[in-house]
């Protein structure tokens, strides 16, 4: 029994709203899987930057509402089929953190289908020059399956640096931004942030490989966060992972932030590049410094 990806969807064509783009991606993802919207028990939103800097409620219930997903189980007399939704905000690592949480829900039979959605917008809902990310809607549908072969996600691993700079900060001091709090966000990025992240994520992987917690042998693809052009390629070189390939989304569309890993998988999947048994290493990295990884067998 393993947690597998039933379907994915990622696109930059979605509406300019963290809520609406997640709805767009969720609908397309469920359509691809042939799973009805009401079958989703667990909905986790992992987008960080959202419409008008809303802090309550969580964004996930607003997405659930627009999806028409088990809206009112009492009125409609279907309390046996409801949805629980919430946000996990962990930057670029959000997908792997949410996937780890989803697996705990699926393994303990509290959910049958978990849908993870993501997407970031500048709070002003415009193409703001200062916004360092590309707005990309993404969704991944996860479920536990027994396919009779080695498949799905292995363990999830996480790292945070014990000291040093956080590398990247995004905040808005509402006391200093007059009446513009709903459309303002300040970004501060260390000059060597991306180089440090590459070294930090590679260091985590080296440690995990040498501890025997993951075997990179036969790795087919390395999917990474998309901080710069060829970020994944440089990691492959640093780790000396011969034979593995990566997807450079950055050169196609910039940095999709929280949607990067789903988008990388979706890129391969939509082009028919994934074969049963292919081993895909997901590795994300971001502010903190922080990183996460998990090995997935198609």
């Amino acid at each position: 029994m393993a947690m597998v990806i039933k379907s994915t969807f990622a696109s930059t064509d979605g509406p300019k709203s963290a809520i609406d783009m997640a709805v767009f991606a969720a609908e397309e993802c469920l359509k691809r899987a042939g799973v009805p919207v009401h079958a989703v028990d667990l909905l986790i939103n992992t987008g960080v930057f959202r419409d008008e800097n809303i802090i309550e409620p969580a964004i996930a219930p607003l997405i659930q509402r627009k999806l028409g997903m088990n809206l009112d189980p009492v009125e409609n007399d279907h309390l046996h089929q409801s949805t629980f939704s919430f946000d996990i905000t962990d930057g670029e690592n959000g997908f792997l953190t949410a996937a780890g949480v989803a697996r705990a829900f699926l393994q303990t039979r509290q959910a049958r289908y978990a849908l993870i959605v993501s997407g970031d917008v500048h709070p002003s809902l415009t193409d703001h020059d200062a916004f360092p990310f590309e707005s990309m809607a993404a969704a991944a549908l996860l479920a536990i399956e027994d396919t009779g072969r080695d498949q799905g996600f292995q363990d999830f691993h996480f790292r945070t640096s014990a000291n040093g700079s956080y590398g990247f900060c995004a905040n808005v001091d509402l006391s200093r931004n007059g009446l513009a709090g709903r459309r303002t966000m300040s970004f501060s990025i260390d000059p060597d942030y991306h180089e440090k992240l590459g070294r930090f994520a590679s260091g985590m992987l080296r440690e995990i490989f040498s501890d025997g917690k993951m075997d990179p042998a036969g790795l087919r693809y390395l999917l990474t966060s998309q901080h710069t052009e060829a970020f994944g390629r440089r990691m492959l070189d640093q780790l000396d992972l011969e034979g593995a390939e990566t997807v450079d989304l950055y050169s196609l569309c910039g940095n999709p932030h929280t949607s990067s890993l789903i988008a990388g998988y979706d890129y391969l999947s939509a082009r028919g590049l994934l074969k049963p048994g292919d081993r895909v290493l997901f590795v994300s990295s971001g502010a903190g410094l922080s990183a996460a990884c998990s090995l997935y067998t198609v």
């Binding site: 809303i54 309390l79 409801s82 905000t89 962990d90 690592n93 640096s161 001091d173």
Partner: protein, 349 residues
Amino acid sequence: MIKAQFESLGVYLPDRSVSTEELVGQMAQKPVFDLMSLTGIKNRRWRGEGEDSFTLAMAAARECLGKSRYRACDLDALICTSISRFKDGPVNLWMKPGMSKFLKKEMGFRPDAMGFDMTNACAGMLTGVQVLNSMIASGMVKTGMVVSGECITPIAETALKEIREPIDPQFASLTVGDSGAAVILDRAEGVDEGIEFVDFLTIADFADLCLAMPSVENPGIAMYAKSIEIHQEVIRKLPAIVLHMMHKHGFTGKDFDYVIPHQTSVRAIREALQLCAKHLDVLPEALIGLRHFGNTASTSHFVVLHDQLSQKRLKKNSKVLFLALASGIVIGFVSATIGRLEASYGYGH
């Protein structure tokens, strides 16, 4: 499945107390109702100089670790569930990195421990308990902390400036108080101890009835709540949901010593629980701390529990039903026997 338990609880409350009378006295448009008798809130704690969501969470986490058998470096996960994510200022909203990253470093968690932010409005801490309980039950982690620092009186400050109507969407903002709370969960020590079940659902049809976001009239944060509509929807739905949960998890009111509802207003809580009473058979004693602390958002259940434990008011090996009601609308149930927590507060067993 592995059963989890509440191993330690820490709560931090700022020293300063502000009365409802004092707040109403500052309003240009006085409410047409008696806010104190309607809500049952006499006082609420108010952040001091230099306090914000991060410092409140940190203070609670230190309290929690002080009562625990674990050090921060023993814990496998940290989940921060604050709605208000203010650091380096009471309305300085941090989106990245998450509060958990700051807290992890400050407390000295291991680099390989999980650490993430999770939000679910006022159901945040109990959703964190649900997530951590699931991670322990599945064997993903053995121990972890759920923490929240709620620096939410800034919404009251905005409301004081902006309330103009006798029935105004910012009235609920006057009920809030600041606090921090943290709980550590680990594997239960015995079959009778620990978390028996956790079950949540989101009735998203009403997700937009309460929104908190920066104000466009004054610098700061505001909350706009259609409190009457929310209360009516909860009142209409809660009995059916309680009945469903009773059948699903096999309990009645007799199985619990206490129920801890989300702390909104005394009148709303009493009305909701009375409607549930016909299904529950016996209504467990409701623990309410509104009089002294107001609505402390995602920490509310644990602020009340801490207050009761500190005063040694609870029975030994109490079995408690935590009832989450939050914007979303989120409704959740956590059933737990809290003998280990009682021991950490000096109860003799």
